[in-house]
């Protein structure tokens, strides 16, 4: 057997090496995208690819000038925040109830929507929302995106609620608290980080989803992701602006990821381990 501290050091070095390797693989494409967005438009597809170039913000300026980028972003924000809120509003009590009763079918039901291809919903939802005159409204988009956010909230929060010892609830019940009151007053404050993770994940997945908005929105309520396709068009493909748009669109999820990464491991994984 070799000297233990030496082996340890080697293992640590080896681990560091693997860490760096993984980091490079994971980060290179993203870095490349950001760099491309800072190149003059036609240099993006230059070959050999230029590594040394004078960075310019012209793609971003062009983007802001030629597209209502900001109003698309506002649309995306409204839809995303709306659907995340709705997901939390419906999801928190449901997760609590499922965790309490151990009757899991409501949680599985909300997941069922994820098993069908998104395209299946396009025409029926269009027909449905048209009946009530909601095509192009934020409401229709928020409702459709809540189908994505609801299961996320439930499945992330269930195990967090599971983690609270039963005795806490029982004590409250003896004091005459109703179940609803226990949820809002006692249980919810105990799963704060879980709620944060659920909210962020719901936000990210809602922000990133494009298919529903293609059909349910219109010129006024189009989301950023749905509008992103417009940068590849006949006679007007602007690779630079495309990369700039891609960078800006990816920014909010990435910032949020950085903010919650601390809790993400525990929040996300508890759900997976026990779900």
């Amino acid at each position: 057997m070799t000297d233990a501290p030496t082996t340890d050091r080697w293992i640590r070095h080896l681990n560091l090496l693997q860490l760096v390797l993984a980091g490079i693989i994971i980060m290179t494409p993203t870095v490349w995208m950001v760099l491309s967005s800072l190149k003059p438009s036609f240099e993006v597809t230059a070959y050999p690819p230029t590594l040394v170039f004078s960075p310019t913000l012209e793609n971003y300026v062009e983007l802001m000038k030629t597209t209502p980028f900001v109003s698309y972003a506002v649309n995306s924000l409204i839809v995303t925040i709306g659907s995340t809120s709705l997901g939390l509003l419906f999801g928190i009590p449901a997760a609590f109830a499922v965790s309490w009763t151990r009757i899991s079918w409501p949680a599985i039901l909300t997941l069922a929507a994820r098993m069908a291809p998104g395209t299946l919903f396009l025409l029926p939802w269009y027909v449905m929302f048209r009946q009530v005159g909601m095509i192009g409204s934020y409401t229709a988009l928020i409702l459709s995106h809540a189908v994505i956010t609801l299961p996320i909230v439930i499945w992330v929060l269930m195990p967090s609620f599971d983690g609270i010892p039963r005795s806490v609830f029982e004590a409250a019940q003896v004091d005459g608290c109703s179940v609803t009151r226990i949820l809002w007053r006692i249980a919810l404050p105990l799963v704060g980080s879980g709620v944060a993770v659920a909210a962020i994940l719901a936000f990210v997945f809602s922000w990133n989803y494009f298919l529903f908005a293609l059909v349910l929105s219109n010129g006024d309520s189009k989301t950023l992701i749905a509008a992103a396709f417009n940068f590849i068009g006949e006679g007007s493909t602007q690779w630079g602006a495309l990369m700039a748009a891609a960078t800006l669109i990816a920014l909010p999820p990435l910032i949020l990821a950085a903010l919650v990464q601390r809790w993400l491991v525990s929040g996300l994984t508890l759900g997976a381990v026990k779900g």
Binding site: V215, G233, W239
Partner: protein
């Protein structure tokens, strides 16, 4: 609209030409008739609609109609249109359409409003219906119904590098055989240059392939059967795929206009067979301005039969306000607007506009534009709008053409196998009613 009013609008000014100026008769037309209405326009976000919509404010001022624009890239636009139409929704009043692709299918599905009557009776006096390209109008007419008004004329043309041709001692190709010979010489003379590039992406192939097929003298159908295995069909399949396989860029089977234009624009292709609409993209940055020549695709045994199509503007059959919608369509396809769009590089579907002095001046400003217009003139006079099979399921027929070409580029089948397999699928498609 009754006959008397029609006479008042069209016939009277002709009779009273001495007394009433054309100006006054134009003023008779009430552009403000639908003031306060809102018309929704589903647009394909391409240069044609971009040029048009740069005058959106003028339309709203002229008519008092509010124009709501919903713009998407072509595929997403179609996706949205299919949903809207299947739900029989009145949400969209006006949409852009490619009669050469989906015209017949949309027409039998009853998605287009019939514009025949409105284009005659409800048009402004200076609309000049007869001045629109008759070929394009015909291409947009199904079972006697005029379904869309042409917005532009376009087609694939050959972009070639004059400097590289010169360097490699190649003449400007005059025939398809010349194209291949030139490609061969260029390949030998400068290995860093892609000699020839065109569309290889499955659904996109038909656009350029049809041009070559017609030049060679082939036809898609004969006696109600698919005709790809005819000698000329096979020759076209063979030539088209050989050009791309032996002289095209790696990965050409994923190439459509984006990649083709990027490759040519960056100076890495000697010949590019791509849409006339791509001129602006190709000239972006100005590097190709001085070394590019343009021409219709060189002749085959049947001479030059270029593909000439156009985007059309259609009124939805489910629109609740077809007349207001028509106001937008006629404004958008009027001589005045088409002239202004032409000055932004949108080839006009009106021969008269092409001869307009102001437009000529714009054309003459750059040699490239001159050649571009000359090529478009050939397209306008000799062009065929047949892209893919002249059947209802045209969009699907393009898949099988593309599949056959890709099978050959990728050397997965022999020409005989590829054409036979495609013919089998296409015969089934033709038989489908």
């Amino acid at each position: 609209m009754n006959a008397r009013m029609f006479a008042a609008r069209v016939a009277l000014p002709v009779l009273a030409v001495v007394a009433v100026s054309a100006q006054a008769s134009a003023a008779d037309f009430d552009w403000k008739k639908f003031q306060g209405k809102t018309v929704t326009f589903l647009a394909n976000n391409n240069p044609v609609s971009q040029a048009l919509l740069s005058y959106k404010a003028d339309f709203e001022k002229l008519t008092g109609i509010t124009l709501k624009v919903d713009g998407y890239q072509e595929q997403q636009m179609r996706q949205r249109l299919v949903t809207v139409m299947n739900a029989r929704s009145d949400e969209v009043d006006v949409f852009m359409t490619l009669p050469s692709r989906e015209g017949e299918q949309f027409a039998v599905s009853g998605w287009y409003a019939d514009l025949s009557a409105m284009s005659k009776n409800e048009a402004a006096t200076d609309y000049d219906l007869a001045g629109l390209s008759q070929a394009l109008l015909k291409a947009g007419t199904f079972s006697g119904k005029l379904t869309s008004m042409p917005m532009n004329i376009e087609g694939p043309i050959l972009y070639y590098r004059t400097d590289i041709l010169k360097k490699c001692g190649v003449e400007k190709p005059a025939t398809i055989k010349d194209v291949e010979a030139a490609a061969q010489k260029i390949k030998a003379c400068d290995s860093t240059i892609t000699p020839f590039v065109s569309r290889g992406l499955k659904p996109a192939v038909a656009y350029t392939f049809s041009n070559m097929l017609h030049n060679i003298g082939g036809s898609y159908m004969a006696n109600g059967k698919s005709n790809l295995c005819s000698p000329k069909g096979k020759e076209t399949l063979d030539t088209y795929s050989r050009l791309l396989r032996d002289y095209g860029p790696p990965g050409v089977v994923n190439y459509s206009f984006q990649q083709i234009s990027a490759l040519y624009r960056s100076g890495r292709a000697a010949m590019s067979f791509e849409s006339s609409n791509e001129l602006r993209t190709v000239m972006d940055g100005g590097e190709r301005l001085k070394d590019t020549g343009l021409a219709p695709f060189p002749a085959g045994e049947a001479g030059q039969v270029p593909t000439a199509i156009g985007w059309g503007m259609a009124v939805s059959a489910y629109s609740k306000q077809p007349s207001a919608a028509w106001y937008f369509v006629q404004w958008a396809t009027s001589p005045e607007i088409q002239k202004r769009m032409a000055l932004q590089g949108i080839a006009p579907p009106r021969p008269a506009v092409a001869n307009d002095p102001e437009y000529r001046k714009w054309i003459d400003a750059e040699p490239v534009r001159k050649e571009w217009q000359a090529a478009l003139d050939v397209l306008a006079t000799k062009g065929s709008s047949e892209v893919g099979y002249p059947i209802v399921a045209n969009p699907q027929s393009r898949e099988f053409i593309g599949q056959a070409v890709q099978d050959l580029i990728l050397k997965q089948k022999t020409v005989d196998q590829a054409c036979a397999d495609a013919d089998k699928e296409l015969d089934a498609l033709i038989a489908q009613k």
